[in-house]
């Protein structure tokens, strides 16, 4: 699944490590989600959406 995580992160000038710390996940997880290698569970997707103050579908896009 495509997502806008990298762009949103860049807009806030956050590194992958910064985002990982805010989400309380590993940097490898952030990298896997950003590159589309792994689709997060709904609870994690909601955490990501809450962190950016957006809806899930504004961050994760249908293929």
């Amino acid at each position: 699944m495509k997502n806008r995580l990298k762009v949103l992160r860049a807009e806030r000038d956050w590194s992958q490590q910064d985002l990982a710390e805010r989400l309380e996940v590993s940097r490898q997880s952030v990298n896997a989600i950003e590159t589309g290698k792994y689709d997060p569970s709904l609870p994690l997707a909601f955490r990501i959406a809450d962190l950016f103050g957006m809806r899930i579908e504004e961050i994760f896009l249908r293929d």
């Binding site: 490590q17 309380e24 996940v25 590993s26 490898q28 997880s29 990298n31």
Partner: protein
């Protein structure tokens, strides 16, 4: 949550864990060759086996360093590495002790049963360690990664076991003891990790 990324160490612990695994395998092969040539055997092999088992310590440290550098060393992963190290060394020592006891004590009855079961005891804790990891890991991607690697290991065991079993049945291959399933599974686990690391590198490339 994973610990902060660390720079890969450049000392001995900075070596690739596969190099330490190869060093351990080479040491065990050398011991087996020494026994085959009659230079070692029984209690004389035990100190060499113990020293070879020590190679598993830098291997685990090197693996932890690489995981930390990749931002993938969660507290659950750290505990998993430590537990796996303890039971790996325990397995090597239990196996060496059981082989020596069988050769020198000429055990019978219940003692023979106990000696035969001894090397399997650390295996129970191997399985327990993997189960604990899946329960304790809070990072869903790391948990997904490890369970996928374990499934690749299982696939290798099933394929290799079935293939070799039929080769044996049709009389074209020699018998291999069933305890080889764990080393084959461990190789598959490492292979699975390598496959996923490679897929991650491909996904990261622009």
């Amino acid at each position: 949550m994973a610990e902060k990324a660390e720079k890969i160490e450049t000392g001995l612990a900075g070596r690739h864990p596969a190099l330490w695994a190869l060093a351990f395998a080479a040491a065990m092969c050398a011991i087996a060759y020494g026994e085959y040539r009659g230079l070692l055997g029984g209690w004389r092999s035990l100190p060499f086996v113990a020293v070879a088992a020590l190679l598993l310590i830098p291997m685990t440290k090197a693996a932890s360093n690489r995981q930390a550098a990749a931002g993938a060393l969660s507290p659950a992963t750290r505990r998993y590495n430590q537990r796996m190290l303890i039971w790996s060394v325990g397995y090597v020592l239990c196996l060496g002790t059981a082989m020596t006891a069988r050769n020198y004590l000429d055990p019978q009855g219940a003692l023979l049963w106990a000696i035969a079961i001894l090397p399997s005891v650390p295996m129970v804790f191997f399985v327990w360690t993997l189960a604990r990891y899946v329960i304790e890991e809070e990072d869903e991607y790391l948990r997904h990664r490890q369970t996928s690697a374990a499934l690749i290991g299982l696939a290798l065991v099933l394929l290799a076991g079935t293939l070799w079993g039929f080769l044996e049945t049709f009389g074209v291959a020699p018998h291999i003891p069933a305890w080889w399933v764990v080393p084959i599974w461990a190789i598959g686990l490492g292979l699975g990790q390598a496959i996923m690391a490679s897929a991650e590198r491909r996904a990261t490339r622009p």
